[in-house]
């Protein structure tokens, strides 16, 4: 029983990370019906930018709580700005020139961007893993025999805060309204005076920024970052977004949490279920299989309905 609870806890944290990354995918997709391949790499790049910035702070990262919190905030801001700017650059150079061309062109273009980003980071920062500071004091809470580290608690809580903030932004602000308007009907929005180009840029700023912040959390949680961390996480997060209902923010959250839980439980119990035939190494296949199943049987996803619009 404690094992199950532990697996669930692990899954919840993993799911929160997926959910955060998925938010970026779902926003861009909701607006442009474009799967931004580069998003996974933007998530990775944000972590590197943050690391670069906070390495200037050296010992403060491990010092008194106040200093730690300060460094952590700096990390988040740096990652958000870094990924956000890269997202804007992607929109400007890889999307806008072919915005009216068939989708296949844009997809290949952002695929190219993802490869460029990944290799650029590799060449600049090196192939080896980089150590990422915890930014949160080490320590555990014991609930029965379930071990939860402070970092894990932080990730769950902060993710909730971010998601709520995003929802409020999309629903309660003018900017959010303009995003929803453009997602609903681009021409009508233009006729109503909405600057569509700005809106697209906004989404290409916010989505990747969230991804970058998720990248910092990844670094805090695993203690290390590496230039290939965006690839598989990216696909899984996209799976999460699709499973939850692409274009829907709650869908991304739900999908992310579900995927995290399924993966943890699956990895833990797969040998048991299959009598030892399939082990933990098939975990990724799990995610892909779920993706294919959902897309085939319920392409709108769990919370979907109006496929492909940013909605509440």
């Amino acid at each position: 029983m404690e094992t199950l609870l532990q697996q669930l806890t692990n899954g919840l944290v993993l799911g929160s990370l997926y959910a955060l990354i998925a938010l970026g995918y779902t926003m861009v997709y909701g607006l442009l019906q474009l799967f931004n391949f580069a998003h996974g790499e933007l998530f990775m790049a944000g972590a590197y930018v943050a690391l670069f910035v906070i390495s200037a702070f050296g010992a403060a990262a491990a010092g008194p709580i106040v200093a730690m919190v300060g460094v952590m905030l700096v990390a988040f801001v740096a990652a958000g700005i870094g990924s956000g700017l890269l997202g804007l650059a992607t929109e400007r150079f890889a999307y806008r020139p072919i915005a009216n061309a068939p989708r296949i062109a844009a997809l290949i273009s952002v695929l190219g961007v993802s490869i460029v980003l990944q290799n650029a980071v590799m060449l600049i920062a090196g192939r080896r893993n980089k150590v990422f500071p915890h930014l949160i004091p080490d320590g555990k809470i014991l609930l029965g025999s379930v071990q939860i580290t402070y970092v894990q608690v932080f990730i769950i809580l902060f993710s909730i805060v971010l998601m709520v903030a995003l929802l409020m932004f999309v629903n309660r602000t003018i900017f959010g309204m303009s995003i929803r308007a453009v997602a609903e009907n681009r021409d009508a929005a233009r006729l109503m005076g909405v600057n569509v180009t700005r809106v697209i840029q906004l989404v290409f700023l916010i989505g990747p920024a969230l991804g970058g912040i998720a990248g910092v959390m990844f670094g805090m949680y695993y203690g290390t970052i590496f230039f290939t961390m965006g690839f598989v996480s990216g696909i899984k997060a996209f799976t999460a977004a699709v499973v939850g209902g692409i274009g829907s923010i709650q869908g991304a959250v739900l999908g992310g949490l579900m995927l995290g839980l399924l993966e943890s439980l699956g990895a833990g119990y797969l040998p048991l279920i299959t009598g030892g035939l399939l082990g933990n190494e098939y975990r990724d296949i799990f995610a892909f299989a779920i993706l294919i199943l959902v897309l085939v049987f319920k392409p709108e996803g769990l919370l979907g309905g109006r496929a492909g619009k940013v909605k509440v």
Partner: protein, 406 residues
């Protein structure tokens, strides 16, 4: 209908013509520098064909290893060891009056490239090749070098490398059988672990060494509670570790590389698991400790080489290497040793001839900085080789003891 039949007939005619022409052209023998009367699949090295007889010029030795890409650090370090020794030899006037020229090729640890490189080196007329460095990239090159009768010295540790029936290949370090097997016994006898959970990364090396560990551990009397696979590139192992926690083994053996090893040991301790953690040579060195952080304290690592300050020769080597390249070696000593072996073999035969070197390596005992070397008939290290056990203390690999094969 009629047009279609005619078109197909025309097509068939063209095809037939092309086939006949190409076979005729090929049969007249074109463009091959080394040909083989190819034996059926998987037999021993073919008959001796044109080997580069001793040219008047320099002796050519080839190097095949990753110089760019993921393995670049390892490949470069190995090559540095090789060059350190060969530059010294050349400065002293070479071997048998001839200087040595190293033909360096980058194979990116990838079988697709290492086979192309192998062909290149054979065409270049090398008499011996150092490398490739990984088992996956070495195995496909065996018949290329074998057919050309070129002595091949490699650190590739998968037992399959010497199990193909070739006689030209030599392994310069203990193989996975030795490492895993040796450590399996060690953990049961010396560390007192009675139960073990095994994790491996489903790659050639990691899986090979952990399978040998399991065999030896069970043979000594231990029980393996579960064998678990991970995928390289994964970061979150809590699920599989939680499952292992419920099995409550005395130790966890991980067959894999530093990146995953560091993450696993970290998450292991995060979950409150206090088992002994043991990892093979890929986790030796600062990378594992960097990634795993404080959690690596107390972890055991096995390695094929003794500490670099344990003998006067090694100390000298360490000084020279650090002076020449500005950093301490981590695999360079094996490169150095493999170069030593080739040169010593050359001195023994007096002839710069691939077949002669192979003969000499099989029949002699050679002194190197890593100790005396002999080779079995299949090219494995004579006697299996000693494995050295380290334990991480204060953020560094601290030497514990040598574990000699039975």
């Amino acid at each position: 209908m009629g047009t279609r039949v005619r078109t197909y007939a025309a097509l068939a005619a063209v095809v037939a013509l092309f086939l006949i022409l190409s076979i005729a052209l090929a049969a007249c023998g074109g463009g091959d520098t080394t040909t083989t009367a190819a034996p059926a699949s998987g037999t021993t090295a073919g008959e001796a064909t044109t080997t580069s007889a001793a040219p008047a010029g320099p002796i050519k030795i080839g190097f095949s290893g990753p110089l760019t890409g993921n393995g670049a650090a390892v490949g470069q370090d190995y090559l540095n060891g090789v060059m350190l020794y060969l530059d010294k030899i050349n400065a002293e006037g070479g071997v048998n009056g001839q200087t040595i020229e190293v033909v360096k090729e980058d194979d990116l640890m990838d079988p697709k490239n290492s086979t192309v490189v192998a062909q290149k080196l054979v065409d270049a007329g090398v008499i011996a090749v150092l490398g490739p460095l990984t088992s996956g990239s070495t195995i496909p090159t065996l018949n290329i070098y074998g057919d050309a009768n070129i002595a091949q010295l490699t650190p590739a540790s998968n037992p399959d490398v010497t199990a193909q029936g070739f006689t030209h290949v030599f392994r310069v370090d203990p193989d996975d059988l030795a490492q895993g097997g040796n450590i399996g016994r060690y953990c049961y006898d010396k560390l007192g672990a009675k139960t073990a959970a095994v994790i491996n990364d489903k790659q050639a090396f990691g899986q090979g060494v952990s399978e040998e560990f399991q065999k030896a551990f069970e043979a000594a009397g231990g029980t393996v509670t579960s064998v678990n696979g991970i995928t390289p590139g994964d970061v979150d192992f809590r699920a599989v570790l939680t499952k292992i926690k419920s099995e409550n083994p005395d130790m966890v053996y991980f067959g894999g590389v530093a990146q995953e090893g560091g993450l696993i040991v970290k998450q292991l301790r995060d979950l409150g698991m206090e088992q002994i953690f043991f990892a093979p040579d890929q986790c030796f060195g600062p990378e594992f400790i960097k990634i795993g952080g404080d959690a690596t304290e107390g972890a055991y690592i096995s390695y094929q080489g003794p500490p670099l300050d344990s003998t006067p020769e090694l100390k000298t080597f360490l000084e020279e290497f650090s002076a020449a390249y500005g950093a301490e070696p981590f695999v360079g000593q094996f490169g150095y040793t493999s170069a030593q072996l080739v040169v010593e073999a050359l001195k023994t035969t007096g002839a710069a001839d691939g077949a002669a070197i192979i003969e000499a390596l099989h029949s002699g005992e050679f002194q190197t900085i890593l100790g005396p070397y002999t080779f079995e008939e299949n090219g494995a290290m004579g006697g299996g080789g000693t494995i050295y056990v380290y334990q991480v203390k204060d953020g560094k690999d601290g030497y514990l003891e040598a574990s000699v094969p039975e």
